[in-house]
C-alpha cells in the first residue's frame, strides 16, 4: 500500500496514537506528492500555508514506522500512481490500496487497486487486511480502433459522458477490447485512472505482453517475471453488467461543466444540464465549446503527466508559442519522467513554447491554498476533475487530453489538436 502526506499523515498519526504498529513495513510505501512545491522546492518544500506540518509529520511517522519513504528531495519522488509503476511496485495479481481515490490507476497492470479512506489505510497497515463486500463485476469493451489523435483520456471522457459519473457504482470495471489492448501501459493507466470518476470501486486491464515488457527490469519487480498467464477473464464469463463502445466513433473530448460526465466532443455544442453547472462554468446551452477563450493551460496529474503525455503535448507545441495572455504549466508526473523528458529535449520544447517547466507533484490539479491560478481563470487541464472550485475558488476547469491542452494553449481558445 501507499500513503501520501495529505491523507497518510492522519492514518499514521491515528495508528501511533492507538499504540499500534505496521504489521509488515515492507508492504507500505509513503510518498510526498500532494502539496509539494513544484518550483524552488529546495528552499520551500511546500507553498501551502500550514503545509509543512503534513510533510514533517508524514516524514517522522514514516520513519518511526519503518516504511519506505520517497521524500520531497528523493530522485524517485513523484505522484504516487506514477512512481509505483515506474519502480515496479505494482504488479499483476496484487491487491494495492492507498488513501487516494486515483489508486485505481494502477489496475492497468492487472492488479486490484483501489482508493480507501485514512481509517481503512490504518486498518490495512495494522492488520494486513481489509474488510469489504465483494464488488459487482462490469466489463467495458472498446471495440475497434481509435481514430488518429484520439487518446485514452478521450475514451474515459466518452464513457463518462455516455454512462454518467455514477455509471460504475458498486462495480469493479474490466476494460477490454481491441482499443484497450492497443494502448500502451501509460494509456491504460490514464483510462483506469478515471474509473473513480465513474464511481467504480476500481478498474482492471488483463496483463499481457505489453504489461510484462513494461515491468521487465523495474527496481521492485521480480526477476524473472512470473507468467501471470492465468490473470485473464475466462471465455464466456458472465458479468453483472456489460457496456460495449465503438472506439472508432470516439472523438477528442473536453468537459463543459462541473462533473466529468459533463463532457462532449470538442466540435460539439454545450448541451442542457443542471443550471448550477452552466452558471458556474459561464457557458449557455447551444454554445460551441471550441473557440471559448482560455486563460491558462495545465499539463500534469496522475491522469496525464507521464512521458507519452508530455511527448504528445510537445508534438503539438514544437515550433509554436502559447497565445498571448495564456499562463501555461507543464508538471511532470515524477522526477524520473522529468529526467527522461529532459534527456530528449522536451523541456526545451515546452519552455520555447512559453510553458513553465516544473518539478514533479500533484501541483494545480487541485488548489490547496498555496499557488493558484488568477481568480476567475478558465483553464484547459489534462487532469481528472472539473469540479466547482477544484483548481481554486472561481476557477473554471475544462478537462481534456494533453494534445487538446497543448492545442488550446497555442490557440488561446479551446481547440482540438
Amino acid at each position: 500500500m501507499f500513503l501520501h502526506e495529505r491523507t497518510g499523515a492522519a492514518a499514521l498519526k491515528a495508528m501511533a496514537a492507538a499504540g499500534r504498529k505496521v504489521m509488515d513495513p515492507a508492504r507500505v510505501f509513503a510518498v510526498m506528492d500532494h502539496i509539494v512545491a513544484t518550483r524552488d522546492r529546495a528552499n520551500h518544500p511546500t507553498e501551502v500555508p500550514g503545509g509543512e506540518a503534513f510533510i514533517t509529520e508524514t516524514r517522522e511517522a514514516a520513519r518511526a514506522a519503518g516504511i519506505t519513504l520517497f521524500d520531497v528531495d528523493d530522485p524517485d519522488q513523484g505522484i504516487t500512481h506514477v512512481i509505483s509503476p515506474e519502480l515496479g511496485i505494482v504488479l499483476p495479481g496484487l491487491t494495492l490500496i492507498a488513501p487516494d481515490s486515483h489508486t485505481c490507476t494502477q489496475g492497468a497492470f492487472g492488479a486490484f487497486a483501489w482508493g480507501v479512506g485514512s481509517s481503512e489505510a490504518e486498518h490495512a497497515m495494522v492488520t494486513g487486511a481489509l474488510r469489504m463486500q465483494r464488488p459487482k463485476a462490469m466489463r467495458v469493451t472498446f471495440d475497434g480502433a481509435l481514430a488518429a489523435g484520439v487518446t485514452a483520456k478521450d475514451m474515459a471522457l466518452h464513457l463518462l459522458a455516455a454512462h454518467g459519473a455514477a455509471g460504475g457504482q458498486g462495480f469493479v470495471v474490466e476494460f477490454a477490447g481491441e482499443a484497450v489492448r492497443a494502448l500502451d501501459m501509460e494509456g491504460r493507466m490514464t483510462l483506469c485512472n478515471m474509473a473513480t470518476e465513474f464511481a467504480a470501486v476500481g478498474a482492471i486491464v488483463a496483463p499481457d505482453a505489453v504489461t510484462r515488457s513494461y515491468l521487465q527490469g523495474r527496481r521492485y519487480a521480480p526477476d524473472p517475471l512470473p507468467a501471470w498467464s492465468d490473470l485473464v477473464t475466462d471465455d464466456g464469463a458472465s458479468f453483472d453488467a456489460e457496456i460495449i463502445i465503438d472506439a472508432n466513433a470516439i472523438r477528442p473530448m473536453v468537459s463543459w461543466g462541473t462533473s466529468p460526465e459533463h463532457s462532449i466532443a470538442v466540435d460539439d455544442a454545450v448541451p442542457a444540464g443542471p443550471d448550477h453547472a452552466h452558471d458556474y462554468i459561464g457557458l449557455t446551452p447551444g454554445a460551441s465549446i471550441a473557440g471559448i477563450p482560455i486563460d491558462a493551460a495545465f499539463l500534469g496529474s496522475c491522469t496525464n503527466a507521464r512521458l507519452s503525455d508530455l511527448r504528445a503535448a510537445a508534438a503539438v507545441l514544437r515550433g509554436k508559442h502559447v497565445a498571448p495572455g495564456v499562463t501555461a504549466l507543464a508538471v511532470p508526473g515524477s522526477r524520473a519522467v522529468k529526467r527522461a523528458a529532459e534527456a530528449e529535449g522536451l523541456d526545451t520544447v515546452f519552455i520555447d513554447a512559453g510553458f513553465e517547466w516544473r518539478d514533479s507533484g500533484c501541483s494545480l490539479c487541485f488548489y490547496a491554498g498555496g499557488e493558484g491560478f488568477t481568480p476567475g481563470s478558465r483553464v484547459i487541464s489534462s487532469t481528472n476533475r472539473n469540479f466547482q472550485g477544484r483548481q481554486g475558488p472561481s476557477i473554471r476547469t475544462h478537462i481534456a487530453s494533453p494534445a487538446t491542452v497543448a492545442a488550446s494553449a497555442i490557440a488561446g481558445v479551446i481547440a482540438a489538436a
Binding site: R6, T7, A10, K13, A18, R20, P25, A26, R27, P49, G50, A53, F54, E57, I67, T68, L91, G93, L94, D100, S101, W114, G115, V116, G117, S118, S119, E120, H123, V126, T127, G128, A129, R131, M132, Q133, A165, A166, Q169, G170, T196, E197, A199, A200, Y220, P222, P226, S259, P274, H276, F366, Y367, A368, G369, R385, F387, Q388, G389, R390, P393
Partner: protein, 199 residues
C-alpha cells in the same frame, strides 16, 4: 465510535447529484493533519460568500436546519477525492446520517468507519423525506416521517459496527491468526509478491 441506534431530526435538503468531496471540504480547508477542526470548512464553497460571510440561501445557514443531524442528497453523493476529512467535517458539524439516492464507494466506507449512517433510497423517497422531521431506526432498518415509512439496505457487518460502535481494527485483529495463515500460504504460492525488508 458512538453507537448508532435511533435518531430523530429534521432532514436538511441538499438535493443535488454528484456532490463531490472537494465541495464538502475543499483541499484548502484541510488545515490540520488530524481529524478535528474541519467543520468550519464544511461546504465552504456554498456556505460562504466573499469574505467568509455566510450565504443566507445555503441550507446549513437557514435557521430552520440549525442542529439538523440528517442530510438529504441526490445521486453519487461524496464522489471524487477519498479524503475522509469530508466525513469528519460532516460528523463534526453534527450530522449522523445521510439519506441519498446513492453514494460514491469510498465515501460510503468512510461514513461507516466514522459512525455516520449512509442510507440509500430511491429519488422520490429522498424527496419526500427532505425537509421533514424523520426518524431512523437502524436496528429495524427503517426511516419514517409522518405516515411515510421506508426500509433501507445495509450490510450485516456494517450494521453491527454502527449499532455497537465497534472499533473495526480490534474486530479484525481477533482474526489475526487467520490472516497470518493466509499470508504464509500466499508467501509460499507467490513469493514474488512479498518484499523482505523496507528499503
Amino acid at each position: 465510535m458512538t453507537p448508532f441506534t435511533t435518531l430523530t431530526s429534521i432532514v436538511a435538503p441538499l438535493l443535488r447529484d454528484n456532490v463531490d468531496t472537494d465541495t464538502i471540504i475543499p483541499s484548502r480547508e484541510m488545515k490540520t493533519t488530524g481529524r478535528t477542526g474541519l467543520a468550519d470548512g464544511l461546504f465552504a464553497p456554498w456556505r460562504y460568500q466573499q469574505g467568509r460571510v455566510p450565504h443566507p440561501e445555503f441550507v446549513l445557514n437557514q435557521p430552520r436546519y440549525a442542529g439538523a443531524q440528517i442530510l438529504a442528497a441526490g445521486a453519487n453523493f461524496g464522489c471524487g477525492s477519498s479524503r475522509e476529512h469530508a466525513v469528519w467535517a460532516l460528523a463534526e458539524w453534527g450530522f449522523r446520517a445521510i439519506i441519498a439516492e446513492s453514494f460514491a464507494p469510498i465515501f460510503r466506507n468512510n461514513c461507516i468507519r466514522n459512525g455516520l449512517l449512509p442510507i440509500a433510497l430511491p429519488r422520490d423517497a429522498v424527496a419526500t423525506l427532505a425537509d421533514e422531521v424523520a426518524t431512523i431506526d437502524l436496528s429495524g432498518q427503517t426511516v419514517s416521517a409522518n405516515d411515510f415509512v421506508r426500509t433501507f439496505e445495509i450490510e450485516t457487518e456494517a450494521k453491527a459496527m454502527l449499532l455497537e460502535g465497534l472499533d473495526v481494527i480490534d474486530l479484525t485483529l481477533k482474526h489475526a491468526d487467520v490472516i497470518a495463515a493466509w499470508t504464509a500460504r500466499d508467501r509460499q504460492a507467490r513469493p514474488w509478491v512479498y518484499l523482505e525488508t523496507a528499503a
